[in-house]
């Protein structure tokens, strides 16, 4: 069977049931492809055994970029390109530059982090995100299980495992 094409979906109503279910499903030896939920569920990353996100590193680098950019821009403009006397202050008085530096640092860190997140989770404009179940954007949690990754079990058996952990529905989803 081809990988990443055929999925069994467990639909859960409640995030606490979902959290227990994730642990039980993993204990029973079924590999989970991904869990989709309409809001952040605390402890889901740990339950799924995900490694720590590297997003903060991206945020830090973008923040540093913002700081550097802001300071360079202001020093260049105020000291060399077009010096102006404002309130009798130095052309390159550091306190003048702090607010803009702060704002640009925050702006670039936030935008950079969002951008990296969108690209890495396939929400980029040219990406084609796969919708497993449209109801995950509303009130349902969906656990997707790749059939090819669980070659030892058939669809029926996986469905039973999901039912046993409290899934309200078990569906099949094929991508072609």
């Amino acid at each position: 069977m081809e990988r990443d094409k055929h999925f069994v979906l467990g639909v859960y109503e409640d995030e606490d049931v979902l959290l227990d279910a994730v642990a039980q499903v993993r204990n029973s030896g079924v590999k989970i492809h991904e869990v989709y939920s309409p809001f952040p569920v605390h402890g889901l990353d740990e339950a799924l055994g995900y490694k720590r996100s590297r997003l903060p590193i991206a945020a830090f680098l973008f923040g540093m970029l913002g700081t550097t950019l802001a300071l360079t821009m202001q020093f260049y403009m105020m000291k060399f390109d077009w010096p102006m006397i404002i309130g009798g202050k130095d052309f390159a008085g550091f306190p003048n530059f702090v607010p803009v530096t702060f704002e640009l640092t925050v702006l670039l860190a936030a935008f950079g982090m969002c951008g990296v997140f969108f690209v890495s989770s396939n929400l980029k404009p040219w990406g084609q995100p796969r919708i497993f179940d449209i109801r995950v954007t509303d009130d349902k949690h969906v656990m997707a299980i790749d059939l090819a990754a669980n070659a030892k079990l058939d669809e029926q058996q996986i469905g039973e495992v999901l039912k046993a952990t409290g899934a309200s529905e078990v569906n099949k989803k094929n991508f072609d």
């Binding site: 720590r52 903060p56 830090f60 309130g87 009798g88 202050k89 306190p95 003048n96 702090v98 607010p99």
Partner: protein, 387 residues
């Protein structure tokens, strides 16, 4: 519903005795010795020649002692009330994470009655040398030293009595604030103990209500306290940021104290419910509010620097252009912003006790320096400093 006995693990009860008491007593004795040594050195250093020349406003050795007493009063009273504030904040926000550590900030409030007595009594002893506005000639139109600006502000201290007499309004505010803080603390403590013995959430609701009322009162009182106790030292000067500035300083010092005590008790085997996530949250609090303090500090500085109005900028002229206090301003920013910011930036640093212990000690020392910088330039002029 009657009271039910709930399982309480008494192994976790902290007894302040023996091995805990001894080191603290030793530090107390050491502090007393240093205090005496400091007084003797300051007395020997003299200033006797100047006394004859400068008359009333000459520098005496005890001015230094008075300024130090005032810094300590305000700083530690602040940490004590911040403990109660933190407790109330958690209840008002319906926070769950902080439940295992809440008794630590609450316990800070035990200092409040002592702080109240010490501050009020010491005001009568040191107040005249700390607060310029207590001099009655400032309000006498016929006196050559009459000061129109201070005369205009006088009502804030002396109302309803005559300006220059007894600062009744000031004293009443001080007494009311301390009394209310202590009463709120007492009420919250009672409710918190009662909640432990009751299985219903009725005490929790009452605690939340009392907490919310306290927060409103504290928002106003801490701000007014900041004007009264610290800002009025530089009587001509004013800053609309000052209430926030002092609150930020108190809060971050209080948070560091909570973190430090939590880590200490954790190391001694208490607080078994506290795990690294709680420590992480305390670390985040310290990190965030170090930045908050800096934000306030800088906002106050930037507005004054930019507008450059003499009566405002004198505050920073006294500090930044003084050989004595100038370096301390940068030590202050280094200890309270740059070091906590850099050290606590990563997740691991916020989760490991070693970093947090170092940083919280730095912050507690740093904000002591912050208060010294608020009080000393206005009271001691060129005679201040840390050593």
């Amino acid at each position: 519903m009657g009271k039910q006995v709930i399982d309480i693990n008494w192994d976790q009860k902290f007894d302040f005795a023996g091995t805990f008491k001894k080191p603290i007593m030793k530090v107390l004795v050491l502090g007393a010795i240093l205090l005496v040594a400091g007084i003797v050195i300051e007395m020997m250093a003299g200033g006797h020649e100047e006394v004859a020349e400068a008359g009333d406003h000459a520098y005496h050795w005890y001015h230094r002692l008075f300024a130090a007493i005032w810094v300590n009063n305000i700083y530690f009273a602040g940490i004590a009330v911040i403990g109660v504030f933190f407790f109330a904040l958690q209840y008002a926000a319906q926070a769950g994470w902080s439940a295992p550590i809440l008794r630590i900030p609450l316990s800070f409030g035990n200092w409040l009655p002592y702080a109240a007595v010490i501050t009020i009594v010491s005001y009568f002893i040191v107040g005249h040398d700390i607060f310029h506005w207590t001099h009655s000639y400032l309000y006498d139109v016929n006196d050559p030293q009459y000061d129109r600006i201070i005369d205009g502000k006088g009502g804030f201290f002396f109302w309803p009595m005559a300006k220059g007499s007894f600062p009744i309004f000031f004293i009443v505010r001080m007494v009311v604030f301390f009394a209310a803080w202590a009463l709120f603390f007492n009420k919250l403590k009672q409710l918190s103990y009662a909640e432990d013995l009751e299985k219903s959430d009725s005490y929790w609701r009452r605690t939340r209500t009392v907490s919310a009322i306290f927060l409103v009162f504290f928002a106003v009182s801490s701000s007014v306290a900041a004007w009264d106790w610290i800002m009025s030292i530089d009587t001509h000067w004013f800053s609309t940021m000052f209430g926030w500035y002092m609150f930020a300083s108190w809060f971050v010092a209080g948070l560091s104290a909570v973190t430090l005590i939590t880590l200490f008790l954790k190391d001694k085997g208490y607080l078994e419910m506290v795990n690294s996530n709680h420590i992480h949250d305390l670390g985040k609090f310290m990190f965030a509010f170090s930045i908050f303090w800096t934000y306030i500090w800088f906002s106050q500085f930037l507005l004054i620097y930019y507008a450059n109005i003499p009566e405002e900028s004198v505050y920073f002229v006294e500090r930044l252009q003084s050989e004595l206090y100038g370096p301390l301003v940068f030590v202050n920013l280094g200890l309270n912003f740059i070091l906590p910011f850099l050290v606590l930036m990563t997740r691991d640093a916020k989760r490991h006790g070693v970093f947090l212990k170092v940083v919280s000690v730095l912050i507690i020392v740093g904000h002591y320096i912050d208060y010294t910088l608020m009080v000393q330039p206005g009271t001691l002029r060129e005679h201040g400093g840390l050593v």
